[in-house]
């Protein structure tokens, strides 16, 4: 008798598991909180689709891109996974990602609700390969106390480069009387093309031209780069985080060694956790000829080798709808859909991030081959030399123009 019950239970369980289509979801968890937030969204989906589709969330810690490459080439990649906009195009160009245009029509996903800048970031040769799950724009963080000390008004969205430079000059001071400054106006990364690009765009320049050749040699682009490096080399109002023993911008800002940094929403949680005493505000990045900022975004994508693409898309659609609501609310990140952004309308801090996404540049360098990592490394190597004064900007630009094509082949 007992064995019969046992057998029925086993059969029932087996029947249930086999009738369910399992969709594997892979992504890098940047924090345990993110992992829990995504798991909560997944659990909600599994409850709604019990017996039909089941998402199994497989967090991939460590070197995600290398692991994903290996999984894709072995043919056992998850059915849905994260792709970072910065290197997504390389994956699109190699034919490992399924174009989603057809599924979007078939399952009636409303694309108008997504921020167009984010959506376009994952288009390649006219097809949509991924859909953005959230985003982070760069804004200007400022330390209210340090501004008060020198009697400066806080930054606002009407600020231009001149206001930034003026404030930074005032804020760079010697507080202990040894004749050398010990607090600075700004902290900047010495070798980060992605932080220089907003300045290039603000000056009216471009990153690449229409034909995908580099536009860094154009007059406006050089003007943008020059301003960035001049803040350090010429005006001495900006330092690198490592100059004050900080690991990154947020650390330097939290230690109150600098009054301003240009950083993203990840700062919010970091400051609350580690430097709750810092009274800060945020404003849109200053502008010159144009407004510009950088947006970092990550999409969900489906590999061509997936055996359950339709089910994967149904799961993805959920993760971009109700799932995104659960995920972004739990984690405090910015949703890629306008309708979900509504709730933050009166949030004085988040406003600046949302304002930025309308004119932001997605962090990628489009190239004919889809490969940009080498070009970025090479450019950053030269930027570091410029920052350190070992090379002039003109020399760096000259080398970039001369070699660019061999880096993106």
């Amino acid at each position: 008798m007992r064995s019969k019950v046992f057998l029925t239970v086993i059969l029932l369980v087996a029947a249930l598991t086999f009738s369910e289509v399992v969709v594997r979801l892979g992504g890098w968890p940047s924090s345990p909180v993110e992992q829990q937030a995504l798991q909560a969204a997944v659990d909600e989906f599994n409850k709604e689709h019990a017996g039909q589709i089941k998402i199994v969330y497989e967090p991939i810690p460590g070197n995600y891109r290398v692991k994903l490459t290996a999984m894709l080439s072995a043919g056992n990649a998850p059915d849905i996974f994260y792709l970072d906009v910065n290197w997504a195009e390389e994956f699109f160009s190699k034919g490992v990602i399924e174009p989603l245009d057809f599924y979007i029509k078939m399952y009636k996903l409303d694309l108008n609700d997504f921020y167009p800048n984010l959506l376009n970031a994952f288009k390649y040769k006219g097809h949509i390969y991924g859909l953005p799950k959230d985003f982070s724009t760069l804004v200007l963080f400022y330390n209210k106390k340090m501004f008060d000390e020198v009697g400066l008004p806080y930054p606002n969205s009407s600020w231009t480069w001149f206001d930034l430079l003026y404030a930074a000059t005032k804020l760079t001071r010697d507080t202990n009387g040894d004749g050398k400054p010990d607090v600075w106006g700004l902290a900047l990364y010495p070798n980060a093309l992605n932080r220089v690009i907003p300045f290039i765009l603000q000056a009216g320049g471009e990153v690449v031209k229409e034909d995908l050749s580099t536009a860094l040699g154009e007059e406006e682009a050089i003007e943008g780069m020059k301003f960035y490096f001049d803040l350090h080399n010429r005006w001495n109002v900006a330092i690198a985080p490592s100059d004050v023993g900080a690991g990154w911008l947020g650390d330097a800002f939290g230690k109150q060694k600098v009054a301003m940094v240009m950083s993203g929403p990840w700062m919010l949680g970091f400051l609350k956790e580690n430097f709750p005493e810092v009274d800060f505000g945020v404003a849109e990045l200053p502008h010159l000829k144009k407004r510009a900022t950088m947006v970092y975004t990550v999409c969900y994508a489906i590999p061509k080798t997936s055996k359950h693409k339709k089910e994967a898309f149904i799961a993805m659609k959920f993760l971009l709808g109700k799932g995104m609501k659960i995920f972004t609310e739990k984690l405090g990140v910015l949703p890629s859909r306008k309708s979900l952004a509504e709730k933050d309308k009166n949030d004085s801090i988040k406003k600046a991030f949302y304002a930025g996404v309308k004119y932001a540049y997605p962090w990628k360098i489009p190239t004919p081959s889809g490969i940009s990592s080498k070009a970025i490394d090479e450019i950053n190597t030269r930027f570091l030399k410029v920052w350190n004064g070992e090379m002039t900007l003109d020399q760096a630009v000259k080398e970039i123009i001369e070699n660019y094509n061999s880096w993106v082949r």
Binding site: N63, R65, V66, T69, A70, L72, S73, A74, G75, E90, F91, F92, S93, K94, G95, V96, I97, P99, D101, F102, P190, N191, A240, S242, D243, V244, G245, P303, K304, T305, S306, K307, K309, I371, S373, K374, D377, E378, N380, T381, L384, K385, N388, E390
Partner: protein
């Protein structure tokens, strides 16, 4: 005889696990890397013919027409099987495959099947192509990288960072190996003496060798940082702080110093084992003959440590040429990259697995020849001692 056979079987059976794992994880990859170094192998393209497609969708997306809208004769004029396959795969295919497709692909049949609704279901891309291919189907069974001959090697000559990486690896080996060997020897002699608390010193010398590289790198990142311990100590002597790891001219020496610190203790153990193997009687005889400590060290200890020195120098050179983890954690500028790091970058960041294989092959040959030369040289040099 029977017993010997049985013994042999048992012997092989016992060594089978290691033989298999060496074959699978070392020998086969080496052979493959050798092959890939003559190709434009791209790991991401490995599954291009294994991906599944919905046949109707694939044709429909390419034509932009529904089945009922297709007029076969008219559509046939503009239908290019090569570009159809490329659009289905989502990436470019080699000229050779294009030629085969244009020659043998039955476009007419495909269009007829599509128009008449006979086409249906999902299929692997490779199988789908082969269904309509009159000849040459084997080229679409699985991804085969293009053989590009010596192109990867020719590119290397022109590649500025290949030379920089090679130079850095050599500097690393040439500086680190002698110092670490010398230091390890001194530590071993010290640890071998009968002083109180010697086991404490032995342990503390050895700890860096068993600590994870990542942890050590983190500690040194703090030590080397601008307001870090090292700069603070130097400032006592009036030296301006240096950003050791972010400054391309000091980053590599800083990592070298750290590498010496971590490996000296490890090699000390090797020397210690050698020292303890030196018979006490020889040393006693030398003492009776009136040899002082210095002479005993030069004439007895050092020559008898010959096998250990050979071992330590050989392993040291190989280890330093291959250094990866500490570079991966601490080096930020391309200027300071080393060979193993550059190979890794090409393989996993720049999407050039073929080129990375070629780099690895050349680097392997360099290490191999250095080791061989070194063995010859070391044996002779030590015999003379």
């Amino acid at each position: 005889m029977k017993r010997r056979a049985r013994e042999a079987i048992a012997g092989y059976a016992f060594s089978l696990p290691i033989l298999v794992s060496v074959a699978v994880f070392t020998v086969i990859p080496i052979v493959q890397a050798f092959y890939y170094s003559f190709t434009d192998y791209d790991a991401l393209k490995q599954q291009i013919f294994n991906a599944t497609v919905d046949k109707v969708m694939a044709v429909g997306m390419y034509l932009g027409l529904l089945p009922e809208e297709v007029k076969v004769d008219q559509a046939l004029k503009s239908f290019d099987p090569a570009s159809f396959v490329e659009s289905m795969i989502g990436t470019s295919i080699s000229k050779k495959l294009k030629r085969i497709l244009r020659k043998y692909f039955d476009s007419k049949k495909l269009l007829q099947d599509y128009a008449s609704g006979r086409l249906s279901g999902e299929s692997k891309i490779g199988n789908f192509i082969r269904e309509y291919l009159k000849n040459g189907g084997r080229y679409f069974e699985k991804y085969r990288p293009d053989i590009i001959g010596l192109k990867n090697f020719k590119w290397m000559i022109k590649d500025e960072y290949f030379w920089i990486a090679l130079k850095n690896s050599f500097i690393f080996a040439l500086v680190v190996t002698p110092i670490q060997t010398f230091l390890a020897l001194i530590l071993a002699v010290a640890a071998n003496s009968r002083v109180r608390g010697v086991s404490f010193f032995k342990t503390s010398f050895f700890i860096p060798a068993i600590t994870s590289s990542a942890a050590i790198s983190m500690i040194f990142m703090l030590l080397y940082s601008k307001p870090g311990f090292i700069n603070r100590t130097l400032s006592l002597f009036g030296i301006q702080p240096v950003d050791w790891l972010n400054n391309p001219s000091t980053a590599l020496p800083a990592v070298m110093a750290m590498n010496i610190w971590t490996t000296a203790g490890y090699f000390m153990v090797t020397f210690l084992a050698g020292l303890q193997n030196i018979p006490q009687s020889i040393i006693e005889a030398a003492i009776i003959d009136g040899a002082d400590g210095w002479t005993r060290f030069w004439k007895i200890t050092l020559p008898l440590l010959k096998p250990q020195i050979t071992f330590v120098v050989t392993m040291g050179v190989i280890g330093t040429l291959q250094v990866f983890d500490q570079i991966y954690f601490l080096i930020k500028s391309q200027e300071n990259t080393t060979m193993s790091m550059y190979i890794y970058q090409n393989a996993f960041r720049y999407g050039k697995m073929g080129y990375a294989s070629a780099l690895a092959l050349i680097f392997f040959l360099i290490i191999l020849s250095i080791t061989l030369i070194q063995r010859k040289f070391m044996e002779r040099g030590l015999e003379a001692m």
